[in-house]
């Protein structure tokens, strides 16, 4: 077969062989990608009927789930029947199971993924009917992929009349299937969702114990054990909770098993949480975990407090004050040594959740959350934001964490490098790439800016769920009107200084965009050179840089209640990215860019060559409004009178990358707050040491 072409698939190499046929690596010469092509033996197809096999395979091809191997195409030529599938790089679970069994954590994690795959298929009326460890692949990323959904079909029943044959003789037909068969299937019933759950029980037993529960020298002995004997006790190393779940899957009476795959998945996930809890306590006894932080006393946050989230290039800091904003408690650094480019506070629907992106030069970028103001942070086993394999891209950094609209409390967005937008519809549990923007035809011509090719600004339209803005450096501003499916460049009138064409359709280096919820049609833009306003959802932009010392700058801030009031912090130029003439001054417009005034009382006006980065300025929502900004030199300034006067809140921090302010509402919180699922854990409890938090007074 090697070298031959079937339809438009060129057979490259044999990669496997089983009772159902031979699997080849093949090249799809139309779509230019490698696939797995399973060629089914003519005999098998004859026995169960080609039409039936085609029907089964086509039904299975409708499944789309991250833990199910995708079927691209089924077809037949004059002599052959074949199935074209996603090519999975990894190993069969059956090859990974060693004689001592896998770790409990691994068994639970794989089991939950398989149960999730079954739940998806069962909801669509499709049973697997041949689930076994050699039908499950584990990818290099540690993700489980269930193979051959629906393909087993009636082959198993063909074998039923021959159970008295030796196991070896049966193997050609059953290929290791028999030990996974449910009692009712052995009695001649067609396999269904409940027999799938039995098979998963056998698989979990095998993975935990390193051996199958029902064994024998002949098919008769095996089937006799399945029908009559309880499974042998699991090794003592398997915790009771997991053993109980496996036992329930292996109930001979169908009614006593889990009735739905989703129930089994929930049971495994609950166990996952419990296992992680117990592991955490044993970790605590071993001493501090260096990754999260050195010891500190945490903030005690009360209702109505103002909280500042400060991300630096060497970790995150939290500051807390009561509403008078005169004394600030400081805790940190959290995530010691890691760059924190994005933070956010999510207080929607009674949550009090902090989000942070951590960037280690060695160990990558992760999104983490805390529901208790920094005592415990999630520490995901796997990165939740990841580019799809076929994109060939890998995540370098998370630059922005943006909450969805108030009436979509589970929506979250992240802007990342390389420039892409990710969204989560389940409060951050899972994330997906917004392909409409990632696959935009302009993308290959976006230019890398000083900070990389990054998507750093995300502005959902507060009143229109279909409309949203995203900005890329250096690609410009893009707008969607259809909830992210398609995006249009919206840069008309925005100048560039680094291309021969001064007003191109795209390629602008945006630094920040803000809008006020009461005037969603009006946007303000701080560009890499240029200050602009749009009055028509970004269709066109006009220059508003009258009365500022420089129209270069990064940070831009909207007053929370005054739609005409915007704050900026100009720096001299792209070459000398410091405040002009050593004057540290915030500029404010109160007439939507008609004029600007310098705000400098309390700020150094001599030798202050400072830089405030694009996310380095924030506002609280009190009256009068508090404004805060952090400098690249590690100083944090605050104003509690809307910018009229300023105080230095703290200095000596590492380079400040982002500042976010929030007023904490604990009153509105439900008695049971929505908690973070344990899935992305282990959460890491911060160790306490003698170091006390700093208190500063102003």
């Amino acid at each position: 077969m090697i070298g031959q072409t079937l339809d438009h698939y060129k057979i490259l190499a044999q990669i496997g062989e089983g009772g159902m046929g031979v699997v080849y690596r093949a090249r799809d010469e139309v779509l230019n990608r490698d696939v797995a092509l399973k060629l089914l033996g003519r005999g098998a197809a004859d026995k169960v009927g080609t039409g039936h096999l085609l029907h089964e395979a086509r039904t299975a091809s409708s499944l789309s789930h991250p833990n199910i191997c995708t079927i691209h195409q089924v077809g037949q030529t004059e002599n052959d029947f074949y199935v074209v599938m996603e090519l999975i790089e990894g190993r069969l679970l059956s090859d990974l199971i060693v004689s001592t069994g896998l770790s409990t954590e691994t068994v639970i994690r794989y089991g939950a993924q398989i149960a999730d795959a079954l739940a998806h298929a069962h909801d669509r009326g499709i049973a697997h009917r041949d689930l076994k460890s050699s039908n499950v692949m584990v990818t290099l990323e540690g993700r489980v992929k269930v193979l051959d959904f629906g393909l087993a079909t009636r082959l198993e029943r063909e074998g039923m009349s021959e159970l008295t044959l030796s196991y070896d003789a049966l193997e050609s037909k059953l290929v290791g299937t028999l030990p996974y068969m449910a009692p009712e299937v052995l009695r001649g019933q067609k396999g269904d969702h409940l027999s799938d759950l039995w098979a998963l029980g056998v698989l979990l037993y095998e993975a935990a114990a390193g051996k199958l529960p029902f064994v024998g020298k002949t098919g008769f002995e095996i089937s006799s054990a399945i029908l009559r004997q309880p499974p042998p006790p699991l090794p003592a190393t398997v915790p009771y909770g997991l053993a109980a779940i496996i036992q329930r899957c292996l109930m001979k009476e169908r009614g006593e098993r889990y009735q739905r795959a989703s129930e089994l998945r929930s049971a495994l996930e609950a166990l996952q949480g419990a296992a992680l809890q117990s592991r955490r306590s044993s970790e605590e006894t071993r001493g501090p975990l260096a990754l999260v932080l050195r010891g500190m006393e945490h903030l005690a946050v009360k209702n109505g407090d103002v909280l500042l989230l400060v991300g630096t290039n060497k970790g995150a800091f939290l500051l807390r004050s009561s509403r008078d904003r005169t004394r600030w408690d400081v805790a940190g650094p959290y995530f010691h040594g890691q760059g924190v480019y994005a933070m956010a506070y999510d207080g929607r629907t009674g949550r009090n959740r902090l989000w942070v992106s951590t960037n280690s030069p060695m160990w990558g970028t992760f999104l983490r959350a805390s529901d208790d103001f920094g005592r415990i942070w999630t520490n995901p086993l796997e990165a939740s934001i990841r580019f799809p394999t076929e994109s060939g891209a890998s995540l370098r950094n998370i630059w922005q964490i943006c909450l969805g609209r108030a009436d979509e409390p589970d929506m979250l967005y992240c802007g990342v490098e390389p420039a892409a937008l990710f969204e989560s519809r389940d409060a951050g549990e899972s994330w997906s790439l917004v392909r409409g923007l990632y696959e935009h035809p302009h993308r290959p011509r976006w230019m890398t800016s000083n900070g990389g090719l990054i998507l750093h600004t995300i502005v959902p339209d507060p009143g229109n769920k279909e409309r949203m803005y995203a900005a890329v450096s250096a690609g410009g501003t893009y707008r969607t009107e259809d909830g992210g499916k398609t995006w249009q460049a919206r840069n008309n009138g925005v100048r560039v200084m680094f291309m021969p064409e001064r007003y191109p359709e795209f390629g602008q280096c945006v630094h920040k965009i803000v809008l006020h919820e009461s005037r969603p049609e009006r946007l303000f833009l701080q560009n890499h050179w240029g200050l602009y306003r749009s009055d028509n959802h970004g269709d066109s932009w006009q220059d508003i840089a009258r009365g500022v010392p420089s129209d270069f700058g990064f940070a831009m801030l909207m007053h929370p209640r005054d739609a005409d009031c915007v704050y900026i912090l100009p720096v001299e130029s792209d070459e000398f990215r410091c405040t002009p003439e050593g004057h540290l001054r915030v500029y404010r417009t109160r007439n939507a860019g008609g004029s600007w005034e310098a705000l400098k009382r309390g700020l150094p006006q001599k030798g202050a060559y400072e830089t405030v980065l694009r996310d380095g300025m924030s506002t609280d929502s009190l009256d009068p409004v508090g404004i805060y900004f952090g400098t690249r030199s590690g100083k944090l300034y605050g104003s509690k009178d809307e910018g009229k006067s300023w105080e230095k809140l703290i200095e000596g921090l590492p380079q400040i990358l982002c500042v976010k302010a929030a007023v904490i509402q604990l009153d509105g919180a439900p008695a049971v707050r929505p908690s973070l699922k344990s899935k992305p854990a282990p959460r890491v409890k911060t160790p306490r040491t003698k170091r006390v938090r700093r208190r500063i007074r102003h």
């Binding site: 990974l96 290099l140 970790e283 290039n313 160990w363 394999t389 995540l395 890491v684």
Partner: protein, 94 residues
């Protein structure tokens, strides 16, 4: 056969604080297969050592015995019975 991975301090939170992890792989396995076994045993390691495209992170070095795999075929480097594989953070900072 068995392969031993030496785990750097920052990653031991994913190995129950063990400085080395022993995994069982088939004879003739390459490093990629050995790492699949390592990640199965210690799932938190995968995304911290490799990118989502399956490449070793830029500032992580992997040595089989004393050879940096960048010069011996990357993850396709063959490992032998009892081989020691060291995961080491590269010179980095800023």
């Amino acid at each position: 056969m068995q392969v031993v991975f030496n785990i750097p301090g920052p990653l031991r939170q994913f190995t129950e604080n063990r400085s080395s992890v022993r995994v069982e792989v088939k004879a003739g396995a390459d490093l990629r297969e050995a790492m699949v076994a390592l990640f199965a045993a210690c799932p938190g390691l995968r995304d911290r050592v490799l990118t989502e495209t399956g490449e070793t992170r830029q500032h992580v070095n992997i040595f089989v015995t004393n050879e940096n795999i960048r010069y011996t075929g990357g993850l396709a480097t063959l490992v032998s019975e009892g081989a020691e594989v060291s995961i080491v953070p590269a010179i980095s900072g800023g």
